[in-house]
Symmetry: C2
Subunit: 404 residues, 2 copies
């Protein structure tokens, strides 16, 4: 079928034509509603007699801006390939794909009807006791098993070839995460009262050189296959499960980028709750969750490193056991430090740039919102300038305000 | 024509069949001799009535070892693609390609009949007054114009796609430059008398961690299209011209790798002459040449950076003029520092590993050869451990022995 942008009505017809989809939702009665609240794509929930599915279609522009901002619709192909790879690696935390149609730029996948977007849950002060562990498992496995510490150089370069032309979406990050927020640019967002702080940052050459060095890593360092946009809006949760969705920004990039996205979004939520809540119980839970995530991620990744005695980087006999262990520890430390740096960029862009986060922009009291924006930007600045000096999670937590 | 390994005889028949080749060397009388003295391929000189050509064919194994060490013959496709790209970028320093046959893994190119391999010239104490300038021009242009400072992210990823499956040859470097020489391995070469020094290095964990961090950059950092094997055997010279040949190791890698190969090979020649010559005139010329190369490379690369106001990394308005200049200076400094690190690995592998260089291995006096090996390895060790602290070429030269 030739590409056309689907509506709830035309999707009805489409599904009736495809046997595998019909089999899933039933031929007779299924209901379709469009629920895409993201920046990029159309998302439909198709509720059948026995089960529902999600159908996602990309359009050749940035949905939140409109047709004036063109964007390759092929991004769905990268998303599909990444979902498949991630599902293979960590099936318990990535939804299964049922069907994909390249020409229509469409993918049908499991409907997580019992789950909500993590960001919404965090805003509503919901606690997810297994989230830290699940996301640590997801990240340790996807980063390790697509890196040179697991794949042969040949396998890695073949996998890289599948993703290294996802340029349109990488360019979005290059511009919106690493460039425009730090200079005078039409796309930026400025909350009243932030002028002075923003101007100060934009004239801090050390800060901007550090941003640029992180941007350059993003553009050239091919450690592993990344999700590429792992904020709390790309994670579906309930009390039992955690699922990672929406990897359309997937590409081979630096280890720290996904780690940083997660840290940033937990910290943004933390700042909002610290400023707005009447007590600290939820903000403390958020920091505990961040700490648990970092600890478990590091220990999982270390275990995976230790389990792979021979890989493309290292072979038995190169190091003594003791030196090998030290080398492994250093790799994991640098990976997480890089994560702190990227977390800074991810936080700063949410305050200064085009796309904010509901956690902060949803604060109705103007004074509280201003305080939250300032606190978040202060943390971001520190992380960007000093990420390579932060030697532990406790060290990180000691640099973060614990009172309004 | 189906792939077969050519001999001087079968190449005769082959050339007679191909019009464009016949037109070059004449139909009637041309002489063919096989001259490949490299480690990998077969190289024929075809001397026609009016002009000669070079025909190079890859075989599905490592020539210097034999059929037991298999190696993809597709390496010639990467070599051809790289030669074309480099010739487009710097036509005065890369031979023109006349004809390429993918199936036969064969390429025909300009015969540089008036030039010799630079390594041979250096061993014979020949001076090349323009070499430093020429190779600086070659490297500044190829590195800059295949990097994110010149290409758009889309253009760069398309070019990357052409080269990032050159895995077999990258694997050779991973093993032979960055791994085997630093551990106990059958492929290593050990000159009598070097046992203690080699053993000391192989038990120096700091040294090996630094080697490994350079190896990891080699494997994952995609700054620019590299020649990949830019030693003095891959350069043809005479008093007027400099030509870069044999880029079969071409891949997207770290800026410093080609720079380092060149530095390493000039220093190996320097060490040999310092130890063996009765006076210092030639060894001083070698250091002057190294200094001139580094100065000219840096100033060319800086000029290119300054000329490209808007690129994938930086756009006008991000930095003040002063901060931009400082950023550019830092990029070039880091690039050259990385070059010192890679130079160390390239020198060490020539002493400890499988493939030596004639400059050192050709020293007949055993004591002098031992002195040269020790001096070269001492420089290598210092470069690998301290490359990030060397802030200028003078700084580099002050760390190098100036007497036997």
């Amino acid at each position: 079928m030739e590409y056309q942008i689907l509506t709830s009505e035309t999707l009805q017809t489409y599904i009736r034509r495809i046997k595998s989809l019909r089999d899933l939702v039933g031929n007779r009665s299924f209901k379709i509603r469009e629920v895409g609240d993201g920046n990029l794509n159309y998302v439909f929930i198709v509720e059948g007699e026995h089960q529902g599915i999600i159908v996602k279609q990309s359009v050749p522009f940035l949905r939140c801006i409109g047709e004036s901002w063109q964007l390759s619709k092929d991004r769905i192909l990268f998303e599909t390939a990444a979902l498949k790879k991630f599902h293979d690696l960590v099936p318990s935390h990535v939804p299964a794909i049922y069907y994909a149609d390249q020409q229509m730029c469409l993918v049908a996948m499991r409907y997580l009807d019992d789950h909500i977007i993590l960001r919404k849950g965090l805003i509503a002060s919901q606690k997810y006791p297994h989230f830290a562990e699940h996301v640590a498992t997801f990240l340790a496995n996807t980063l390790f098993k697509t890196s040179s510490f697991f794949l042969s150089s040949k396998e890695k370069s073949e996998l890289e070839s599948q993703f290294n032309t996802n340029c349109d979406l990488c360019k979005l990050s290059e511009d919106l995460v690493f460039t425009f927020p730090y200079m005078s640019h039409d796309s930026n967002h400025q909350f009243p009262g932030m002028e002075e702080f923003a101007a100060e940052l934009r004239s801090d050459a050390d800060f901007k050189r550090s941003v640029l060095s992180l941007k350059y890593r993003f553009m050239t360092q091919r450690d592993a296959l990344l999700h590429g946009d792992l904020h709390t809006g790309s994670i579906m949760v309930n009390e039992r499960d955690t699922y990672i969705i929406d990897p359309e920004f997937a590409f081979f990039g630096p280890f720290g980028f996904d780690i940083g996205a997660l840290i940033a979004n937990l910290l943004l939520s933390y700042v909002a709750h610290l400023i707005c809540d009447s007590d600290k119980s939820y903000s403390v839970w958020l920091l505990d969750t961040l700490k648990e995530f970092l600890a478990k991620f590091q220990s999982r990744f270390l275990d995976l490193l230790r389990s792979q005695e021979s890989n493309a980087v290292l072979i038995p006999g190169f190091f003594s056991r003791q030196d090998l262990e030290r080398y492994h520890q250093e790799i994991v430390l640098k990976m997480v430090q890089e994560g702190y740096g990227f977390a800074g960029c991810k936080m700063a862009r949410r305050i200064l740039g085009l796309a904010g986060v509901a956690d902060i922009r949803g604060i109705e009291d103007r004074n509280k919102r201003l305080a939250a924006e300032k606190m978040a930007l202060g943390i971001a600045k520190d992380l960007i300038k000093n990420f390579e000096k932060i030697n532990s999670c406790n060290d990180l937590l000691s640099r973060i305000p614990h009172d309004r």
